[in-house]
């Protein structure tokens, strides 16, 4: 067997565990420096500006651009279309080539999706 080729054990597993160790250190460090804050108990009469977790901020921000009866477009239609495209990705692309340059249309669409999600997330912070 070709000795230059990595094996799952020990080569790949060592790399994975190393990454996991850094992940654990990171989570521990963040836990010590920024432990979660428990707010005041639920008060049905007091105003509170709710903010979702960071990974829902883009969705939350997009919702603001669809007032009144159009709200469902931001809530359901756009997320459903994006989810459909993500799920169907392997069946939508015609080429079997794995290189990005052979699937330019898909790559541009993915880049637009990522950039708009990032922009919406940043916008929601203001």
């Amino acid at each position: 067997m070709d000795n230059r080729l990595k094996k799952f054990y020990p080569d790949y597993l060592f790399e994975i565990l190393l990454v996991c160790l850094f992940a654990l250190e990171g989570a521990l460090l963040l836990s010590y420096v920024f432990p979660p804050v428990t707010g005041s108990p639920v008060d049905f009469s007091r105003n509170f500006l709710p903010r979702p977790e960071w990974y829902f901020l883009a969705l939350y921000q997009m919702f603001k651009y669809f007032p009144g009866n159009l709200a469902f477009i931001g809530v359901a239609v756009i997320p459903a279309v994006i989810l459909f495209l993500v799920f169907a990705l392997p069946f939508l692309e015609k080429t079997h080539s794995r290189r990005l340059r052979d699937r330019k249309f898909s790559a541009v669409a993915a880049a637009i999706l990522l950039v708009s999600a990032a922009v919406l997330t940043v916008l929601s912070c203001f």
């Binding site: 009469s45 007091r46 105003n47 509170f48 500006l49 669809f66 007032p67 009144g68 709200a71």
Partner: protein, 163 residues
């Protein structure tokens, strides 16, 4: 059994097998339906809203001729508020109560005394002085709550949470 013998299996044996295969489908279908039906029924059940409980909101004598009073109502004696309402007198002298819950996504609206408008801090929805939605995302007016006068008090009916 040799494959040849399998093909040669008698007709009655074949119908018996077919019957058993259909039976397995039917029986597992019945068992699954019997298991899934109550789960779905319970999951789809929604607790119906409780009838309104009238709570003393403000002394009739403390109610101004014009303007809006903001009141936090409590169902329990512990004084922890369960609902925020706005009580006001209409030009024809009636007293109305508006729930502060925004019709958009359920945030608590504030009253802007200068513009005589209710403003939602979450997405900037606006209602006029009578609770009618005039701009921004809210799809409906603020909910009017039942009001009655009991002795010296104006009472407002609010709903108790189910749990």
């Amino acid at each position: 059994m040799e494959p040849a013998e399998l093909v040669q299996a008698s007709g009655s044996d074949k119908t018996r097998r077919d019957f058993l295969k259909t039976g397995i489908l039917a029986v597992s279908g019945i068992i699954s339906a019997a298991a899934v039906y109550p789960i779905i029924r319970l999951a789809l059940h929604t607790t119906p809203p409780a009838p309104p409980v009238f709570v003393d909101a403000v002394l009739l004598s403390d109610m101004p001729e014009a303007g809006v009073r903001r009141i936090d109502l409590s169902l329990e004696k512990d004084g922890r508020p369960d609902a925020r309402v706005f009580v006001k007198r209409t030009p024809d002298g009636n007293i109305i109560a508006l729930s502060a819950v925004c019709s958009h996504l359920g945030c608590i609206v504030n009253y802007d005394r200068i513009k005589d408008q209710f403003v939602c801090p979450c997405h900037g929805g606006r209602y006029d002085g009578n609770g009618k939605n005039i701009s921004g995302p809210p799809p409906a007016p603020l909910t009017r709550l039942p009001v009655r006068i009991a002795g010296a008090y104006i009472q407002v009916g609010i709903r108790k949470p189910p749990v």
